[in-house]
């Protein structure tokens, strides 16, 4: 077995295990941590496919930022596992349909090569080929309008998130830093001259 194949199967086993544990772990924080592990190993698999930009971006964005905020929320929520399980049987048909659909889609993508639906082979590139540069060049030449459009949508998302959390004026007792900076010592205290009293 080639070393690369060994690495692939090693990462895949971890990935599948982590993916299964995400949905079977009872503790929501553990589930989120297994999701982190799944992202990390998936990035390893992408690295094997010579998609180093995607692999690093996955770790940077999903592991480094998204999952951190996710963990914040999961840790602070008071999650009652029994109440979540209450509606299990009523949700099962819908969940099963979605699950089957996803499995079918994955089957099409993975089985596509064998069924001859489409051609897909990973182009082998030399070691000094810069994936990042290639992605960047395409993004700012051929796909510049979709890219700019996506960034505007993200900006709207940011503004909306800020607007949603700041709907009413909050009673904030914070002091304006520009006022703080200009405070002089004599604004805060005054020195009194007290003549010494004579003892009788």
């Amino acid at each position: 077995m080639e070393f690369k194949t060994f690495v692939f199967y090693f990462l895949s086993v971890i990935l599948v295990f982590a993916g299964l544990r995400v949905i079977t772990a009872r503790n929501p924080v553990h589930a989120a941590l297994y999701l982190v592990l799944a992202f990390f190993t998936a990035s390893g698999v992408w690295m094997l496919l010579q998609a180093e930009f995607l692999a690093i971006a996955l770790v940077l964005v999903y592991v480094g930022a998204v999952m951190v905020l996710f963990l914040f929320v999961v840790m602070m929520l008071d999650i009652n596992v029994d109440r979540i399980r209450e509606g299990f049987w009523s949700y099962l048909p819908l969940g099963a349909i979605i699950g089957l659909l996803m499995a079918a889609e994955m089957g099409l993508v993975l089985g596509g090569n064998y069924l001859g639906l489409f051609e897909s082979s990973v182009a082998q590139t030399s070691a000094d080929f810069s994936n990042v540069q290639a992605v960047g060049r395409l993004m700012f030449t051929e796909y510049v309008y979709p890219f700019e459009l996506a960034s505007v949508i993200l900006l709207v998302g940011i503004v909306a998130a800020v607007a949603l959390t700041q709907r009413e004026k909050r009673k904030n007792k914070a002091v304006d830093p520009s006022q703080q900076v200009f405070v002089k010592a004599k604004d805060r205290y005054r020195v009194l001259q007290m003549p010494a009293e004579k003892r009788d």
């Binding site: 180093e52 930009f53 971006a57 940077l60 480094g64 951190v68 810069s130």
Partner: protein, 350 residues
């Protein structure tokens, strides 16, 4: 010569698994001196702060107190690791590793000179940014797993601080990679060796710190905040506030401590490479070399200690204000300014 001989010997010894053995050997050659440097950085910190406060610092164990870090390490090893009741044991023990491992893994792509680098990858700067962003898990998880409200609040506080300053750090790096036209750390250093002043023999004026001075200052302050060091050390402001590792003891605590110092060395190395010309010599008549890199790292580390001994601790809302309302807008404006500069005829990074 000696390296070649060793390589040949090991090749005979291990046969087909030789490349793996060779890489492991190189990793050990990076990690072992790093851990030693971490130990002596704690010693150096206590000495420097001692001198700044007109004290002597550690001076009892060994000549000039030089064995002190070893003694500290042994003491921490022998102490009991107390695991609080009701804590999540596996996550509790996993958290220090999460904090420490990224600080070591990032060294894989750090170049020491033109050729001396473990993995010379094109996207090394991206790799470092993504690997170091994992370090925040150590803080969040330790806060949560301790099953203590104090540790949890401390973890939230430190994690929010680290995430905030990662943004301004990242934006400062974007400016650097814009002017270097590369994500490869070796190329970024190489780019700093060219320019008007470098041709005149005054290389230190061609390094990135001068043309990108605002970004250099932002980066320098951000790394202090990112490593949770004074004056941004709300994680363990021992005199007034409790932090994420208040339930940790013995070696589990020591690993957090080691992670902090390993991170300090890592970000100092990054500052030296990105802004201070890496292994390049400051003047034309002296040769470039790895010694310059070590000298620059030590200088940046000294600034860390100097800052710690000089400034009073920031208040938490002031830290957040500095990160979000001062540094990020400053970085964004400077990004546009440098972009316009590069497009103008005055571009100095051709």
């Amino acid at each position: 010569m000696m390296v070649d001989a060793l390589q040949g010997f090991l090749q005979g010894l291990f046969g087909s698994v030789f490349p793996l053995v060779w890489v492991v050997l190189k990793i050990v050659l990076i990690i072992a001196p790093l851990l030693l440097a971490v130990a002596y950085l704690t010693f150096w910190e206590r000495k420097v702060i001692g001198w700044m406060q007109v004290r002597i610092g550690p001076n009892r164990v060994g000549p000039w107190g030089l064995i002190q870090p070893i003694a500290d390490g042994l003491k921490l090893l022998l102490k009991e690791v107390v695991i609080p009741t009701g804590s999540d044991k596996s996550v509790f023990l996993l958290a220090p590793m999460f904090a420490f491992a990224p600080a070591l893994a990032a060294w894989a792509v750090i170049p020491f000179n033109d050729t001396l680098v473990l993995a010379n990858v094109n996207a090394s700067l991206l790799y470092i940014m993504s690997i170091t962003s994992i370090g925040v898990y150590g803080i969040i998880l330790s806060g949560w797993a301790s099953n203590s409200k104090y540790a949890f609040l401390g973890g939230m506080r430190s994690a929010a601080q680290m995430i905030s300053y990662e943004v301004s750090m990242g934006l400062a790096l974007v400016v650097v990679l814009m002017v270097s036209n590369s994500l490869n750390l070796g190329d970024i250093v190489g780019g700093q060796g060219r320019g008007y002043f470098a041709d005149k023999g005054l290389g230190f004026l061609s390094w990135n710190w001068l043309p990108l001075l605002p970004m250099f200052v932002v980066y320098l302050v951000s790394i202090v905040a990112e490593t949770n060091r004074a004056p941004f050390d709300l994680a363990e402001g021992e005199s007034e506030i409790v932090g994420f590792h208040c339930e940790y003891s013995g070696m589990a605590f020591a690993v957090f401590f080691l992670a902090e110092y390993a991170n300090m060395i890592l970000v100092s190395t990054l500052t030296s490479i990105l802004f201070l010309g890496g292994w390049l010599s400051p003047v034309g008549f002296l040769p470039d070399g790895i010694l310059w890199l070590f000298l620059k790292i030590s200088a940046v580390l000294f600034v860390f200690l100097w800052i710690r001994a000089t400034f009073p601790r920031y208040r938490y809302d002031q830290i957040m204000r500095l990160g979000w309302k001062v540094f990020i807008p400053l970085c964004l404006i400077w990004l546009v300014v440098v972009g316009a500069w590069m497009m103008s005829p005055l571009n100095i990074w051709k």
